[in-house]
Symmetry: C2
Subunit: 260 residues, 2 copies
């Protein structure tokens, strides 16, 4: 029996999603909880491997177990065994062929920037807090250059060893609300550190340190060095995962309710 989970987590206390020796990870907590629930010693797969300190408003994971616990019951049982900073939203039985990472899907990441003063002690956990004001209109214009199918090798941590740098960015939107700037980026796949490099570069565009067409230049030349710093992990969150075979969510659905 294959079980699919939708979950969210606060990544602050974890060394990322993926299991590692001698480190606390989301995957390890999930596998421990499944074991405690009587699901046996399973390997759980996730749709995205978030890094240390990165959060998820929505992550999808799946595992195979031969227990007779009905699919929809797993959410409640696992929430009982999981720590409070990991929360299963729903669980369901799914065909054996489903794999969170390899089944075709798009991911949306959210990167949050906070330019305010009040509440920083709380927001610093979920946002990149900055002391200067950004020009979001210029940033919004810059974002447009990322949409489409491109070779994103300039948007990839140099230590990464992938072979294929082409990704399709479906949406890249910047939403300003009060002291917040939120970047939503949806693509068919992401390179290592891609969103954090985009966010860091956008911050430099917004404060006038990099030109509005910097993304164009990075795409054309493939040079990482033209961009800004990699923005810090705590501002990043996996925001939504949509599988091809799922009921289509209307594309222009307002991206409300992203945080609070």
């Amino acid at each position: 029996m294959r079980i699919k989970l939708r979950l969210d987590y606060d990544g602050t206390a974890y060394h990322g999603f993926q299991i590692q020796e001698n480190a606390n990870t989301i995957q390890a907590e999930l596998e421990k909880a499944i074991w405690k629930a009587g699901g046996g010693n399973v390997r759980i797969d996730g749709a995205g491997r978030t890094d240390a300190g990165v959060h998820a408003w929505e992550q999808v994971a799946a595992f195979t177990s031969d227990t007779r616990i009905p699919g929809e019951r797993w959410a409640q049982i696992l929430n009982y065994y999981l720590p409070q900073d990991i929360h299963i939203q729903e669980s369901s039985e799914i065909p054996e062929t489903f794999h969170p990472r390899f089944s075709p899907h798009t991911k949306t990441y959210l990167y949050q920037i906070y330019q305010g003063n009040k509440g920083k002690s709380i927001y610093q956990r979920y946002a990149c807090c900055i002391k200067f004001q950004l020009d979001e209109t210029v940033m919004q214009r810059a974002c447009k250059d990322l949409v489409g199918e491109h070779d994103f090798r300039a948007f990839c941590a140099t230590r990464s060893s992938v072979k294929q740098y082409v990704r399709k960015v479906i949406q890249c939107e910047l939403v300003k609300e009060d002291d917040w700037i939120r970047l939503f980026i949806q693509a068919n796949g992401f390179l290592y550190n891609m969103v954090r490099i985009i966010a860091g570069t956008l911050i430099d565009v917004g404060r006038g340190r990099l030109p509005e067409d910097v993304f164009q230049k990075m795409l054309q030349t493939g040079k990482r060095s033209l961009g800004g710093k990699t923005a810090p992990p705590q501002g990043l969150a996996l925001y939504r995962i949509q599988y091809e075979d799922e009921e289509k969510i209307v594309d222009n659905e307002p991206m409300k309710n992203y945080t609070n």
Copy 2:
């Protein structure tokens, strides 16, 4: 020289504001930071003594020090020495007679309730997460009975030993937004656990377990037992402090931006 601080903090890791032996508190962290900054061994006073796990979007504190550091410089210096979950918004020099707790002021507390499913792992730190839906219209009506000068002895933890139970509630508003219900309550003073008792009772009103006029009855009889449970601390935050001698903030200012 007397210095006034406006600050915010994430109360999760602390045993409340007030200094205690062998416990990590906001006051202790502030006094340690002042000492490290060269301000000497001072006693710092706060406007409100928040409990363990309770947050502050705005708290006011003051101390007296004979160093020559200008008032407005303290914010930056203290932020350097403070942990990330305590943040000084601003600092200024203030007359010797100012005392955060005894100088006349009103406080506004915020209590957050989250009725949604997505993002609970993050929101549980700052909200009371519930699994049922509340009828906020009934709750809004119930709130009205609290406004005014009343004897609030029914809204006080039984172990409390104050002598005077009369307080004046200036505003008590319930704001619903998506899956959130936020209670804002402004008064000239609060009894111990008062807001958490109000919030816990309101939750029971919203789910139909207590009548709409429960606050009226509590005020008339003085009986704590007529109300609901004391709601958990993590949903509570000190939200705003206004001193009489400060520039008057327009009363009907929209209570926006309270979280995010």
